[in-house]
Symmetry: C2
């Protein structure tokens, strides 16, 4: 049997040789220690999972069509119908035939990346972006062109236009329209038709990743970019991870017909198909109206957690700190003065105060975000949020008032 | 909203432009028409699925650890323990820490392909191979070097050695050790240590895809190549699709420690992780001893179906036909005289006799197999197998006795 030493006398591919874990994943052992109050993960609240309702749906599917649910099979048509209905909640009029099912939205990113990007393809992406987007770009060997995001008005569309004019053959624009991970911001309503029009004019498709759009706690729904799609250039990615449960691994893509056959082939080679059982149970869950009621419950609870965290930040964090005030989603982005390096603060926060967060550096496509941190507010109860922000505030107050010199900096990193 | 015409005014990647459905998938609409007796799909028998037992395991997991089962999470350690136990049944002494969980064995192929193969990497593969292997090679842009397979003794190891000596830097050997799809054959017991030794000597890892090894109906278990692994050069892929249920989308990889971290990163970018709920329910299923009893039940039933099909072939098929006599698995490979083109026969079989099969051409890595066909015996009852082979025999008798001329050939294809 394998001796399995780390010196493997065979050769890895170039892709494997350069593959690196995201910093966020590297930090997982630190941020998931027992006894911590964690604002690190992007985890939905487990105490709110609709365990009993989902179990009823699973049992129903197994009892009535168990033999089909355990077999191979094509994408389950009633799930596509149910998702066209869900897209209506976002203000998008989708045809069920344009819906493709994936093993979570990360697979949506991966297959759409394969659909659109070649090695070295220029692709427009926000400077501070979800780690999975960075990984997809790296996997394809594409070339990121980064654009700034304003904490009030979201993506800088002027900058996007400048890049599209400057650089030929940009192959995609990747955008999270609402309650961005990690920034918590949304792209301004008036920027949406403009970005869609730019995409059309420059023949550059948009990959719209929208896992949080249905989790709005304030104001009316603003339809995503997909609602402004004139010619199939906007490929929309949805996810059940935040609105139902990540452990199901279920997401969807709304794509033009021309792309669907190709996505099928790409996914076939990647993992053949998505679980029939999961597809049928989730279709049942939506058909019974359980997703509507679950979303209402989530929104009430998460709104309280968000307000608790925002109030606590105002009370406990240094005056020099700034943060986003998200109207939805599960993240707040805090920025400290430039001399503060949040990666250096993390071990102290974990060891002294038993608090975890993700350093902003983890989300910088080209290394930005060193003085920022991402705080998740969905996964801790309001009581733990109060207590945790109080303790984290102490670390931040210290860091702001005691600029690290080169010497202490070295010491801190040890 | 999208007009979704098939003329999409944007650009696909090169990968998407060249992506083609496998012929087998192209034929799906034909071979899955209602009312057919289908020997086409590689489907396990739905009437044998352990629906109730799996439901009990799911219910138990949801009732006792539902909040963890619906959350994000790392590979579930008890499933790795359970799989180390399953590997013992195959005669492989695997360390649970060397086991990686995938979304079915196709994802195992895909991530291991990314681990080992660069564009244009030479890779040794059987001339007639599982379509998913061909798709993986195409996705990586690797260069297949094909080797013949003997219907008695399996892979031609002399030919493998010849190629390894001739060509530098062959990056992998892909092999299905037992009850090969589509051939139904196994590599001879005495060839196994020899192939493992060649892999080691030439520093060329083996990708061993073993979905059928536990489905043996005759003779004692012959351990797979992995049992002869001296230095971690053999990467083993397992699947629950044929031994439990494909609708769960669960498979595993046994790999050297050096590869596991890289596989984790590759899978993260592809679909983050595999369903916690599925992992926990299947671990429960194995721990309760239900997989053992289910396998025993499958083997009894499939042995009858295999014998029924072999007997019917001997009775109904032309004397000129030859076929493999698999000791396990779910497929028989039938070869007719060279002048018979089975792709031409399929529409007639479907329309006249309501019988479906897969033409051998679908499995030829470089176009071989035109006079052969793959028959699946797991998915039809013995009664339907008798009836189906009788009807298919008529088509085959006709085809053998009436060689197609150029004219009738054209007519047939219409």
């Amino acid at each position: 049997m394998s001796t399995s030493t780390s010196a493997w006398p065979y050769r890895f591919s170039r892709r494997a040789t350069t593959a690196r874990r995201s910093l966020m994943r590297e930090l997982m052992p630190l941020t998931t220690r027992p006894g911590l109050i964690s604002f690190a993960g992007g985890l939905p609240a487990p105490d709110l999972f609709p365990v009993e309702d989902y179990q009823i749906c699973l049992d129903h599917v197994l009892a009535t069509e168990g033999r089909r649910a355990l077999q191979y099979g094509p994408i389950y048509p009633p799930l596509k119908e149910a998702l066209a209905h869900v897209m209506q909640w976002r203000g998008v009029d989708a045809n069920p035939d344009d819906i493709f099912i994936t093993n979570g939205a990360q697979q949506g990113l991966s297959v759409v990346g394969q659909l659109l990007l070649n090695p070295n393809s220029p692709v427009i992406v926000e400077q501070i972006a979800f780690t999975g987007i960075g990984q997809m770009i790296a996997e394809r060997g594409a070339m990121p062109l980064t654009v700034a995001t304003d904490l009030e008005s979201g993506l800088d569309v002027d900058h996007v236009e400048y890049l599209l004019k400057l650089i030929d053959q940009v192959r995609a624009i990747i955008e999270v329209p609402d309650f961005h991970n990690p920034l918590g911001v949304s792209i301004a309503a008036e920027s949406r038709p403009r970005l869609a029009e730019l995409s059309q004019r420059f023949r550059t498709p948009i990959i719209e990743d929208d896992p949080y759009g249905l989790l709005r706690y304030e104001g009316a729904n603003i339809p995503p970019l997909k609602a402004h799609d004139a010619d199939g250039g906007i490929i929309y990615l949805g996810s059940f991870s935040k609105i139902l449960a990540p452990g199901l691994r279920l997401g969807w893509v709304v794509a033009p017909k021309a792309a669907l056959g190709k996505l099928t082939v790409i996914k076939e080679s990647q993992d053949l198909e998505t679980s029939q059982l999961a597809q049928r149970a989730v279709a049942e869950f939506i058909q019974r109206g359980l997703l509507d009621t679950h979303l209402e419950k989530l929104k009430v609870a998460y709104a309280v957690r968000r307000k608790t965290m925002l109030d606590a930040l105002a009370r406990e964090f240094p005056r020099e700190a700034e943060w986003s005030k998200p109207k939805g989603g599960i993240f707040i982005w805090v920025t400290l003065p430039d001399h503060v390096n949040t990666l250096d603060l993390l071990p102290r926060a974990v060891e002294q105060e038993k608090i975890a967060f993700v350093p902003g550096f983890a989300f910088g496509i080209q290394g930005q975000g060193q003085s920022s941190l991402r705080l998740n507010f969905s996964n801790a109860t309001p009581e733990l949020i109060e207590e945790g922000i109080k303790r984290l505030g102490k670390i931040m107050q210290e860091a702001v008032s005691r600029p690290l010199t080169a010497d202490t900096h070295t010491k801190e990193r040890k």
